[in-house]
């Protein structure tokens, strides 16, 4: 499944997240995650004879949605109807479900708008404006400063710009570093936080084939769900939404994809990629496997346990399979030697140019030095600042409360980014979420992660002893969860209100634990921010400029979880001796399930068996195309030249996982659900007439 591949995990544990310009000497055919304010017009014109007008772009941009929990989506009606992937909506459905009432297993269809249930902490963003603030940022930071001062100055100006914009426009305002700081743009979003569930199929068909089929093709998943955004308790009136194409994508057709790729690292130096390959990914994979086993064993104990852990476990399996694929690519000598060759070409060009050499020649060693620091602190950073040693929702809340008190006491310019004035509203949406917290699951996760801390630093380490306070990890976790008061949202609100005094006075054991950790966690973060990220930002900006100088401009920046336009053709591919078709069908889903004796995770839901004779088995279900996408693009609309919705991205194949650091289109494919298959299922299997009529006014009556 293609979403932002567990973005939080990455954000917390890999701080290699440099935002960087693409290392592309010559673009491959359908390569590129293009900016909406710098679209690939010439390319589209020359290659496909297609002209994306200003209006076309504006319409598509404002029809596209960012799911702030890590995916993409699109408006599909004037009444605020939103489509995304089921696996993007899972987070909301998990939080709305309870023991007797499991939206994921049974699916859901709201009989009327009045009974659409509201998600507890979901925020959707629609990009409205982009403003270039590069000069203002650059004026505040000069490279004579040491990296600590530079990092501080950069943070201050960005916090300030965002706050000013928020005050002025009321829109969510994010400064985005593009081309790794070669350019800074201010993105303004319309924000929706009243988001309600409209329709979801059963997870058994949304994710037919489960982990074995994930990132593979041929595929048979109805990976969709529908939400509706509300304003003032009424369905929002939407000007820009995508019209539904009942025929959907066709073989060989040009398609475009408008979504939010999370991160790519195509500019990373070879030394940097080597660190991902030999250090970071192996470390993350060990953590993921550990969590996966923990949650699998927890889930096996009862069906209620399985329900409670479902979304966590799915996320982890998904990340594990994605990162395994990325690691396999880095371990392929062919790919690494291609990267090394490209780097060598650029460095040689810089070295022999008397102007470029003094300005940019040292950048690669700068990156290498930041990587050495990163490798030194990586494990401890991940444990403490990344909170991998305190895997618990309660700890997350406690940490936020402790820091909220500390940070909001400072002037806005000096705050950690996530506590800046402009960020506070979104932060509080999560902090005050009514999502359920389960004591037994919290205890199991916390016990295991406290044990991880002891294993990593040694049980005799002073910090470990302070954290465990004389208990074993299991007993300590049980005591912490039992004594914690933060499950209650009102308590969290009161503590947030009470500021530092409230935190100082709190007897809550997990608040106290967060305080014990904080000095060391902040120390590690400071090292990372100043000696790793700031150094990389400066060094990669030099490399980007060298690249512009040597190969010319007109390139797209690495992905930054902001809106991008990709394009490609609908196209099957060769795997070994097998030619894989451009599409699969509804009928194929039944066969695929039967080929596995209808056993989980290949068991179709009951509704599909009941209506087997009602559907046209030849209707396309999933299809593949060559668009350049990555995690975060999940739920992105696939549209034709007329901006009609012909499908929705939900995955990439295994061969596409290397797109993180290199584009290839021999076998790499984006996988989408076909618009005609969605329609057929909604009509024939789910009898979702109101929904179908909303997607295509008059459709059901007109049949």
């Amino acid at each position: 499944m293609y979403r932002r591949i567990m973005w939080k995990f990455f954000a917390a544990t890999t701080f290699a997240a440099v935002l960087s310009i693409s290392l592309i000497v010559s673009l491959q055919a359908d390569e590129g995650m293009w900016l909406f304010n710098r679209p690939p017009n010439a390319l589209l014109k020359s290659r496909y004879g297609f002209e994306a007008t200003h209006d076309w772009l504006d319409h598509v941009q404002q029809s596209s949605i960012r799911f702030n929990n890590g995916g993409s989506g699109e408006f599909v009606s004037a009444d605020g109807l939103v489509m995304t992937n089921h696996h993007v909506g899972t987070d909301c459905m998990q939080k709305l479900s309870s023991s007797g009432h499991d939206y994921l297993t049974t699916g859901f269809m709201a009989k009327t708008r009045e009974v659409e249930p509201r998600c507890v902490d979901l925020e959707l963003n629609v990009l409205m404006q982009i403003e270039d603030v590069t000069d203002r940022v650059n004026a505040a930071v000069n490279l004579q400063m040491d990296t600590a001062a530079a990092e501080k100055a950069r943070r201050a100006i960005i916090n300030t710009i965002e706050k000013e914009s928020l005050d002025k426009t009321g829109l969510r305002s994010d400064v985005v570093a593009l081309y790794n700081g070669g350019e800074y743009d201010l993105y303004r979003y319309k924000k929706y936080t009243d988001v309600r569930l409209v329709f979801a199929p059963e997870k058994d068909i949304a994710f037919l084939g489960g982990d074995p089929d994930n990132f593979e093709y041929p595929r048979y998943d109805l990976d969709i769900c529908f939400f509706r955004v509300y304003e003032k308790n009424q369905p929002a009136r939407i000007q820009h939404y995508l019209k539904w194409s009942p025929q959907g994508a066709e073989d060989g057709e040009l398609i475009l994809v408008s979504g939010h790729p999370g991160r790519t690292e195509r500019l990373d130096t070879v030394r940097h990629l080597g660190s991902l390959r030999d250090q970071i990914y192996p470390y993350i994979l060990n953590l993921l496997r550990r969590r996966e086993i923990l949650l699998r064993t927890y889930s096996e104990r009862s069906s209620e346990n399985a329900r409670r852990a479902h979304e966590d476990l799915f996320s982890i399996e998904n990340s594990r399979k994605a990162i395994l694929g990325m690691l396999a690519g880095l371990q392929d000598p062919l790919i690494m030697s291609k990267k090394a060759g490209d780097e060598q070409t650029l460095r040689a060009a810089v070295m022999k140019d008397p102007k470029l050499e003094p300005a940019y020649g040292g950048a690669w060693e700068q990156v290498a030095s930041s990587i050495r620091t990163s490798e030194e602190i990586y494990r401890d950073y991940s444990l403490l600042e990344g909170a991998q040693a305190f895997d618990s929702n309660l700890f997350e809340h406690a940490r936020t409360l402790v820091r909220l008190a500390d940070e909001t006491a400072k002037p806005n310019a000096e705050r950690l980014r996530e506590y800046s004035e402009a960020a506070l509203e979104s932060l509080k949406l999560e902090l005050f979420s009514t999502a359920p917290i389960y004591d037994d699951l919290e205890t199991a996760k916390l016990a295991d992660s406290l044990s991880l801390l002891a294993e990593s630093l040694g049980a005799d380490n002073e910090l470990v002893r302070n954290v465990l306070a004389g208990s074993s990890p299991r007993k300590r976790a049980a005591d912490l969860v039992e004594g914690c008061t933060l499950k209650d949202v009102e308590t969290r609100k009161q503590l947030a209100q009470a500021g530092r005094k409230g935190i100082d006075a709190s007897k809550d054991p997990i608040i106290q634990l967060a305080k014990v950790i904080d000095p060391e966690a902040r120390r590690l973060r400071k090292i990372r921010d100043e000696q790793v990220r700031e150094v990389q930002r400066q060094a990669y900006a030099k490399i980007a400029k060298a690249r512009f100088a040597v190969f010319g401009t007109g390139l797209y920046p690495d992905a930054t979880f902001t809106l991008r336009l990709a394009f490609g053709v609908v196209n099957g591919y060769q795997e070994g001796t097998e030619q894989l078709p451009w599409t699969t069908t509804l009928g194929g889903a039944y066969k695929h399930s039967e080929d596995h004796q209808n056993q989980p995770p290949f068991a179709l839901p009951k509704s599909w068996f009941e209506h087997r004779n009602d559907i046209n088995p030849n209707t396309p279900l999933n299809f593949v195309n060559t668009a350049d996408i990555i995690g975060g693009n999940s739920g992105s609309p696939v549209i034709n030249k007329n901006a009609e919705l012909v499908g929705i991205i939900f995955d990439g194949n295994l061969e596409s996982l290397v797109l993180d650091y290199i584009y290839t289109e021999d076998q790499a494919r984006a996988i989408a659900v076909h618009s005609s298959g969605i329609l057929e299922a909604l009509r024939k299997i789910y009898q979702a007439n109101a929904l179908v009529n909303e997607l295509m006014p008059g459709a059901v009556a007109g049949k």
Copy 2:
């Protein structure tokens, strides 16, 4: 499940396997894994008024069986009938099964003796004689030698003694270091290699509750199966076998357990235990989780995949849960401070004694120094000599063939232990096994472990590059397995026959890989043998002697996978606020399954539902007792004073996992299948009349 907790894994990856005398200042009530030639007569007499006569001991000893693949068992008829745990027999059943024919899922009952299928590589041992060879070993090794010379001399004399004994008696002959080299005994075994499957229930009832219930209680497992040993193609005539008790164990009764505990580490110094806690166990757990995920994802793809990987996956899950429990114990400050206190008492006594101090005072630092070396080489040793980087049956065979050629060219005294003359027959049983090898499973395992090698040493490491030969791990693994000829047993036999010339000429890619690795693997083994194991052997022998001097003799040695006698009482226990009963019942198994909606791993097999009304639901199924057991004891007979079989050990509870390094009986319990429950199931559910009549002549007719 209690077997030798994946002994091969341990043997390969932890070389902390010191054989050592128990650190027991004062014995707890039912503590002890006693030698048959030094039984706890006084204890049994004073505490339970029971006298174990020479004849009683002799009878029990010769009724007891060692399963060489890692468990225990017992003779239960004069016609060579053997009972053990289902999970000990799984290895044989897995190797006998094929795609259309899965003994594990369907269970098995031989209609007549003629159709009992023969296990492909199972060896059973029955202990016949014990001879003290301490003086002879000590005469060959003197402590003025450096550790390299001492290790060599020790190995030479042991290889020689074993060979002489084998030639003289024809019995399998193993020199065993007891009390960590305080004593060397020669154990002579009668060996059975024609072992045939007689009866096994379905794995769903043998392992009801699966991983969630493993190492837990209350429990409902019919974890038994029956084999028959043959000599000259006829059922072996057995003089000593255990009579079946139809009533079985009773609450509060004294019981005795005669089996083969694999390893304990109760004498380990605190520094040594700290290394297990902070280094070794975390490392092993990461490896186990990695394998578990690999095999789980492989298994989920199809039911045939699941069948192929079943035994591997079960072993790994079992080890993971066991080691997690052991680690949790070591992370409990109460347990570690108890160990530290005991060590402090002994060291203080040594230090203040002018005779003991110079002789033994330095031993603890000697251990510490060996641990430092061990920690330095541990990872690489495990990868290369432990072959964790080449997880494949084909590689195992290739390594054996390469070393067989090298080692058999040397005089017996100089060979690696496993290639000594006395060991060759058992080694060849495995090397020439007809157990199936599956290309796809081999490839998946090898690819993942080659990736592990690259992750661990770095993909740019020279050895890694030599191993991968310019390919990615996945491609290299596929090529290696595809090109390998060793799946064919005849090819292996020819290569073994051809000696070094054959190996040198072989074009087999996995033979060539084994040759590439061997110099570095042997270098690491030499360091371990000389600087870790030999040093520990000498140091722990000193600590043992110090212990004798301070606390007196009359103690039992740490476990060595040799025959031991344990004892205890049948007894429930308190867990939290709950009093757990001494026994569970057949009826309870149905309820337990229903409590989990009869879903796997809690689904009873069809046979149990069909005969639900035929059985007496109050018949005991499992029961707990206080006997001192550990992995390897699986399948051990539980007997009463009259040496009648009242049950069979199959597990310990979670609280018992700390028995590895400290005995406790507050909550630690051995778990056994009750002899009356076995009988009831055989009669009523399986109608195994011939088997029942063999266990209790006349039983079925007499009913």
